[in-house]
């Protein structure tokens, strides 16, 4: 589903952040990318989602057999790529429900499916809210405005559940969450696990992986994946720290 080959990316000011990433994710898999602050985790997520401000200087990314890097961000999303933001953006004046429906309908239009009216949408979103144990009041507020940290992350998971992506990238969705919120995020992710879908969980801590069991774990350090393994690697990292992983590499 996703083939990242020798990906190099730098910021507009010239600093190279990604220095040759190789990553292969197949449908049905859950991958965890772990690494210390500044290792390039969020840059990888941003480059995959198509955020401006980065220059890919080398390498390629293939998504569902297509060149991902030439697609604008909104097209990537309509093709089923979803990024859960580390810091969800507040948008005053845009109602959360209207935002979700507009997003879902943009994707449905793209797939040639009929758009949902307000009533149809409400039925679907209510079912998802119940599943994720999220209060309906979240829909009536402006997107992320005045949301607590936990509410913002829940809102990201709700969007993922509504949009049903092919490839979901969760950028430190677990950071800053208490244990209940963490379990809820994990539930949302586990609900989304399916043979047709791939999930990439980017995280600093092993904590989330107690609830979301990854098929593969990668260690990102200074813009490169220095080690890959199964879930046992995550446990080892938690015990020995990222320094040990670097020495071993």
């Amino acid at each position: 589903m996703l083939e990242v080959t020798n990906l190099h990316a730098r910021l507009n000011d010239g600093r190279e952040i990604l220095r040759g990433i190789d990553l292969s994710v197949k449908a049905g898999e859950v991958h965890a990318i772990m690494g210390p602050n500044g290792s390039g985790k969020s840059t990888l997520a941003a480059v995959l989602a198509g955020r401006e401000g980065y220059e890919v200087s080398e390498g390629s990314v293939s998504y569902l057999g297509r060149d991902l890097l030439v697609m604008p961000a909104d097209e990537r999303a309509r093709e089923g790529l979803f990024l859960a933001f580390q810091y969800p953006i507040e948008i005053p004046g845009v109602n959360n429900m209207y935002f979700l429906r507009t997003a879902l309908n943009a994707q449905r239009r793209h797939r040639g499916e009929p758009e949902l009216d307000a009533g149809q949408f409400l039925r679907i979103v209510r079912a998802r809210l119940k599943l994720l144990d999220i209060g309906e009041d979240l829909l009536q507020r402006a997107v992320n405005v005045g949301f607590s940290g936990g509410e913002k992350k829940r809102n990201e998971i709700l969007q993922m559940a509504m949009l049903e992506p092919r490839l979901a990238i969760l950028d430190e969705t677990d950071s800053g969450l208490d244990i209940d919120a963490l379990k809820l995020v994990a539930r949302g992710v586990n609900e989304q696990r399916s043979p047709e879908r791939a999930i990439v969980v980017i995280t600093h801590y092993q904590r989330l992986l107690d609830y979301v069991e990854p098929d593969r774990v990668h260690v990102l350090q200074r813009g490169r994946i220095i080690q890959s393994g199964d879930k046992a690697l995550a446990v080892e990292l938690e015990r020995r720290g990222y320094g040990a992983a670097e020495e071993a590499a």
Partner: protein
């Protein structure tokens, strides 16, 4: 008619003087002498002032040359029935819910389209032409109070030429529950001409009402509207202006309000369409502890030009002013906001705040914003803020990252930006109507 040209006459005013002379026979005997007197006096002032120059602070952001070079003379009464086009305009602009409605077509009352039945006792709503005979003292007092200075030449021109308009007179203590809508339409028959309308709202002590005035039309015309608001002690009035003129039309709106003690005015001005649109609000807070909320927005594209001006003069103590204005310009459009708040000596404990926020989208669009505070009392709280910027890139990316196409995401953010100001309209029906018109406008400007 030579009496009026004993004054020095500015050349651009001459065609209007001649038009006045031609109409004088038709006017004779149809109007009371006192009105003719005001008309002549005002015309003389206009002849003396002429068109404002760009050196005049209140007119520096508008290019009036096209209007100055080619006179747009007052349009005469149109004959014939109500066209399908007018009915379509009305269907677009009407609130669509129970409201007292007065419709003016080409500047004159259209009784067949109006709905004035069931007004509560103590409320008089009708055309200006009717008010001149039925409410002469009220109308006269309005003319008497209006000071004509060189910065308001078109208010003088309006007095000379207005054909009709409306008057809403509310007795003390009366609450008008339903909204009042005044709809100005133009059929296109006034092609190349001007439409002068005059409004007057007099709210007695503790009276309460909400009024929306909508302006729309077809063709190339110049609408020159003047409205006076008189709020007695404790009166509460909401006045919304929705300006959606024809793409080639000019619109000048002049609103003059006087607030008594404890009176409260809530005004919203939405400029959506028209070639050149200017709306000026002047509020005199004469009674203690009055409250004045002036909000508004313009949404400009193509080669549109728009200018919103506000002046609030606090002449009494304890007054409060709140202003929020939002501007959006795309294409080659140019917008300007000029807001002045004056606190006279002795007007202590005035609390005034003004905010002007603007979005300039694209390299050829521009917006000027010019706040002015003039404070001559020491115990006051006055502040202002002004910003001109672009759409929030982070918000735009967030929407796009959910699959919303770039153009649509931009429209959503523009709408949200304007919505923040519209949310301040206290009457839900009017607020929803404005939001709908804004959505329509944004959807129609889609490339």
């Amino acid at each position: 008619m030579n009496a009026v040209v004993d004054f020095p006459v500015r050349p651009e005013a001459r065609p209007y003087l001649e038009a006045f002379g031609r109409d004088s026979l038709a006017r004779a005997g149809r109007e009371p002498d006192w009105l003719t007197g005001y008309r002549k006096g005002s015309l003389a002032r206009f002849a003396e002032f002429g068109f404002p120059s760009r050196r005049s602070e209140a007119w520096r952001y508008l290019d009036l040359r096209a209007l100055e070079q080619r006179p747009m003379l007052p349009a005469g009464a149109q004959r014939g029935g109500i066209s399908a086009q007018i009915r379509a305009q009305l269907a677009e602009m009407a609130l669509g819910r129970p409201a007292y409605r007065l419709v003016l077509v080409d500047g004159r009352l259209a009784p067949a389209l109006s709905a004035l039945e069931g007004l509560p006792p103590g409320v008089w709503l009708g055309s200006m032409a009717a008010a001149i005979t039925e409410r002469p003292e009220l109308v006269r007092a309005g003319f008497e109070a209006l000071s004509l200075d060189a910065a308001r030449p078109f208010a003088a021109l309006n007095t000379a030429f207005f054909a009709d308009g409306f008057v809403l007179d509310i007795e003390p203590g009366v609450v008008v529950e339903r909204p009042v809508e005044i709809i100005h339409l133009s059929s296109g028959a006034a092609q190349g001409g001007s439409l002068h309308t005059r409004g007057l709202i007099a709210a007695g002590e503790r009276a309460r009402a909400s009024v929306i005035e909508s302006f729309a039309g077809a063709g190339h015309y110049w609408r020159n509207d003047v409205i006076e608001l008189n709020l007695a002690a404790g009166a509460e009035l909401t006045r919304v202006a929705l300006i959606e003129e024809a793409a080639e039309a000019w619109h000048f709106g002049e609103m003059l309000a006087t607030l008594g003690a404890g009176a409260s005015l809530s005004s919203f001005v939405m400029l959506l369409a028209g070639r050149t649109v200017r709306h000026e609000t002047t509020v005199r807070s004469e009674g203690e502890a009055s409250r004045c909320e002036l909000n508004g927005a313009f949404l400009l594209s193509g080669r549109q030009e728009a200018n919103i001006l506000t002046t609030v003069e606090h002449a009494a103590a304890g007054g409060e002013t709140r202003e929020v204005f939002k501007g959006v310009a795309t294409g080659r459009a140019h917008g300007a906001f000029q807001g002045r708040i004056t606190v006279r000596p002795g007007a202590q404990r005035v609390d005034a705040h003004q905010l002007s926020r603007n979005l300039v989208l694209g390299p050829h669009a521009s917006i000027d914003t010019k706040p002015e505070l003039e404070i001559c009392a020491d115990d006051v709280k006055c502040s202002h803020g002004a910003a001109v910027g672009d759409l929030d890139e982070a918000a735009l990316f967030y929407l796009r990252a959910r699959g919303i196409p770039d153009e649509q995401a931009r429209r959503m953010l523009i709408e949200a930006f304007v919505r923040e100001a519209v949310e301040l309209v206290g009457t839900p029906l009017m607020r929803e109507h404005l939001l709908q018109r804004i959505s329509r406008r944004l959807a129609s400007s889609e490339e």
